[in-house]
């Protein structure tokens, strides 16, 4: 099952995601893992030996490790991992920064779930193609 990791310090993000994707979750298309800090995310990622992880969605603004810092670490360790930033700070410098550090996407809050669904589908297909190949 394709898994998506969501990193956000706000707990209600999980509630929302689970509701938004309740259908997909119910049908077993995706599963979501929720962590609440960058450190937790890294721990999780490093523990997943061979993962079905297709995408990492991360908030930018978190205490201690920020989304960007997390992005950099992930890209250093596993450049193949896809990371999409979700943030309340929607401005040009942040977009630039995301791009520069290799993020695959940048969304502003409030999260527009159609767009999220789009990009999730995009990456799941990619994986499929990959695995197929």
């Amino acid at each position: 099952m394709k898994q998506i990791l969501v990193v956000d310090d706000e707990f209600d993000v999980q509630v929302i995601f689970e509701q938004e994707f309740d259908d997909e979750i119910a049908r077993g298309i995706f599963s979501f893992a929720f962590v609440h800090s960058g450190e937790e995310a890294l721990t999780y990622l490093r523990s997943q030996a061979e993962s079905d992880l297709i995408l990492i969605l991360t908030d930018v603004n978190m205490p201690n490790m920020t989304g960007f810092e997390l992005l950099q670490v992930i890209k250093t360790e596993r450049p193949d991992r896809k990371v999409v930033m979700i943030t309340a700070y929607d401005d040009a410098p942040n977009r630039e920064k995301a791009k520069m550090h290799g993020a695959e996407g940048f969304f502003a809050k409030p999260i527009s779930f159609p767009s999220i669904k789009d990009i999730v589908m995009q990456y799941s297909n990619t994986i499929e193609n990959h695995t197929k190949n």
């Binding site: 706000e10 209600d12 929302i16 509701q19 938004e20 309340a88 700070y89 401005d91 040009a92 410098p93 809050k109 409030p110 999260i111 779930f113």
Partner: protein, 628 residues
């Protein structure tokens, strides 16, 4: 030290009103001026008269007097009136010198006498000219006796000039046969001394009293003058008894006069003292008893010379002191004024600083709020995001629950079913409203954030200008209504829909529009206060598509208008007509900067006092690609 007291005119001297002969225009113009001929006449006559007087007091065999006034007069004349006055001297001298010698007996004697007279005259004239020349070259021609140093120089040079007349005069006499060559030296010598004494006594006297005719005399001075004259009189009498050789007692009065009455006193007393001394000497009641009369005269002249120099030096010294003191006062006054002025400027500046500090304090709260704006916006946005997310999800859940509706109809009776269905519908509607309003709030927040962010790092953006105008119009209007709930105006928006998007910095233009609107609102408010209920305040914002390149935006109000005298200062930083605390005066200047400097547009104002004001902005649709 001298440099410090370099004054052109001793302030204690009041310059004579008699004008100097101008030395410009055509060289002989002076021959036409009345002044010249006045002087000429006066000098010629004085010379002649004083010469005759002197001759009467003459002592043979040289026919000279101990003090020969005319030489002093002559030198004073050229010093005062210039070289060109020489004909006057010549004339006076001619008559004075020829008449005594005139012998019309024979042609020869006549010739000789005229010749002698002429010779003497030439000598006299030359002497005066030479005197001035020497003083002009080696001394101070403008103020020959006003300073101590110059006194010595001038008198010495004056004495030197006497060599001329003594030589020429004595030679003329001998040549003319009126004196013997064997006596030449004697004659020459007495002539020289007499002329020198004459210059010493009369030249300074005339110079001082003609050039500065009105000494400042106080009542105390009058008393002193009285005392001095009395002293002189007494001393004179005593001296003339011949009993007591106390001639030196003349000196204290001279010192006193020079000290207290300066040049006027000095020259005056020199004249008097010399007169006393001479009169005494000629009448045998001699203060100076030499072995011969000549010796007495020599002593006399010597005395005169020394006392003259002494008195004048003292007078100059005292003058210089008083000048220095005056300068001191003046300089001090100037500097004191400067200090005062600077202090005033400083106080002004400090007041300004104070005022500004007050302004800053007043603005502080709002400014710190401004600083926090973005933070606040963010803090609001976060929960709002959740509101929206959850509202959306609610809708989803409601959709899920719709299945129940038909079931309800089945399971429950009509009445109950009706209620429940109603609740459902209401719930649905409520949730939708929550969502809608949530989005609305979000929109406003975005606006707030963009204002907070300002133009930092922003590029020109294609912007729907009409939307921007409308948005800001509403914003300002609501702001105003919050401040003053009674605020109500007729808001007109006349937008030209053919304008699409234009390349601007939306936040900056937004600020400009806000500024203009604030001013418009203020103006109509003021007018309302004056006119009251009958007045219908109206503010109109217009956009127009001028052409391919430009758009026009205008903000019109029917408020108080702007006074003509203020119009030119309108865009000056810190200029404001609002009472203190109600505006920094920066709005329009910043707006101007944004429109003209940043957007390369124009901003104009048209106004009529008491009637209306309209600000017109012209913006290019596209900007050059200058990144800020």
């Amino acid at each position: 030290m001298e440099g410090i007291i370099a004054v052109n005119i001793s302030p204690l001297f009041k310059k004579s009103t008699a004008p100097q002969i101008e030395q410009n225009s055509r060289p002989y113009d002076y021959l036409l001026s009345a002044t010249y001929w006045n002087q000429f006449f006066v000098i010629a006559i004085s010379y002649y008269l004083m010469a005759r007087l002197g001759q009467l007091m003459a002592i043979p065999p040289g026919n000279v007097t101990p003090v020969w006034p005319p030489s002093g007069i002559a030198l004073a004349a050229v010093l005062l009136c210039g070289y060109r006055i020489w004909p006057a001297i010549f004339l006076g001298a001619l008559f004075a010198s020829t008449l005594p010698f005139y012998n019309g007996d024979t042609w020869t004697s006549m010739l000789y006498s005229i010749g002698t007279g002429l010779g003497i005259t030439v000598g006299v004239t030359l002497q005066a000219v030479a005197g001035k020349y020497l003083i002009a070259t080696f001394g101070n021609i403008d103020e020959p006796i006003e300073k101590a140093r110059d006194v010595i120089t001038t008198l010495t040079l004056g004495a030197l000039s006497c060599l001329v007349s003594s030589t020429i005069g004595s030679s003329s006499l001998c040549l003319g046969g009126f004196a013997v060559w064997s006596n030449y030296l004697n004659i020459w010598w007495t002539w020289f001394l007499g002329d020198a004494a004459g210059i010493f006594v009369f030249a300074p006297l005339l110079w001082v009293w003609i050039k500065y005719p009105f000494p400042s005399v106080t009542r105390a001075n009058l008393l002193e003058i009285g005392l001095l004259l009395t002293c002189l009189f007494v001393i004179g009498l005593v001296l003339l008894t011949g009993q007591y050789p106390i001639v030196f007692t003349l000196i204290p009065p001279m010192v006193w006069a020079s000290f207290r009455l300066k040049h006027h006193g000095a020259t005056g007393i020199i004249l008097l003292t010399s007169a006393i001394a001479i009169w005494g000497t000629t009448h045998g009641a001699a203060p100076f008893q030499g072995r011969s009369l000549n010796e007495s005269l020599l002593l006399l002249q010597f005395f005169i010379g020394i006392t003259t120099m002494l008195s004048l030096i003292l007078a100059s010294t005292v003058s210089e002191r008083e000048d220095a003191q005056q300068l001191l006062e003046e300089a001090n006054l100037t500097l004191e004024n400067k200090v005062k002025q600077r202090t005033l400027e400083l106080e002004d500046s400090l007041k300004k600083v104070q005022g500004m500090q007050q302004q800053i304090v007043v603005q502080q709260k709002l400014a710190s709020l401004g600083q926090l704006t973005s933070g606040i916006a963010h803090e609001i946005k976060k929960p709002l995001n959740f509101v929206n997310n959850f509202a959306e999800l609610c809708q989803k859940q409601i959709k899920n629950l719709e299945k129940v509706i038909p079931l309800i109809k089945e399971w429950v009776n009509e009445q109950e079913s009706g209620k429940l269905l109603k609740s459902f519908a209401t719930l649905d509607s409520n949730i939708k409203k929550v969502y809608l309003y949530g989005l609305r709030a979000d929109d406003v927040l975005k606006n707030m954030l963009s204002h907070a962010r300002g133009s930092a790092g922003s590029d020109f953006q294609a912007t729907d200008i009409n939307a921007l105008l409308e948005e800001n119009f509403k914003l300002v209007y609501h702001s105003k209504r919050v401040e003053d709930p009674t605020f109500n105006i007729n808001m007109q928006m006349k937008f030209d829909d053919s304008i699409g998007e234009i390349e601007i910095l939306p936040q900056e233009i937004g600020r400009v529009v806000i500024n203009l609107l604030n001013n418009a609102f203020y103006a109509v408010e003021q007018k309302k206060r004056e006119l009251g209920e009958t007045y219908l305040p109206a503010v109109t914002i217009t956009s127009k598509n001028i052409d391919e390149q430009k758009v026009l935006i205008s903000v019109h109000d029917n408020g108080t208008g702007i006074l003509k005298k203020y119009v030119e200062n309108l865009f000056t930083p810190f200029f404001t007509t609002k009472p203190p605390g109600q505006g920094t005066g920066l709005g329009l200047s910043l707006s101007h900067e944004v429109i003209v400097n940043v957007h390369h547009g124009e901003i104009k104002v048209d106004t009529k006092e008491g009637v209306y004001t309209v600000f017109t902005i012209i913006l290019p649709k596209k900007t050059k690609k200058d990144k800020l």
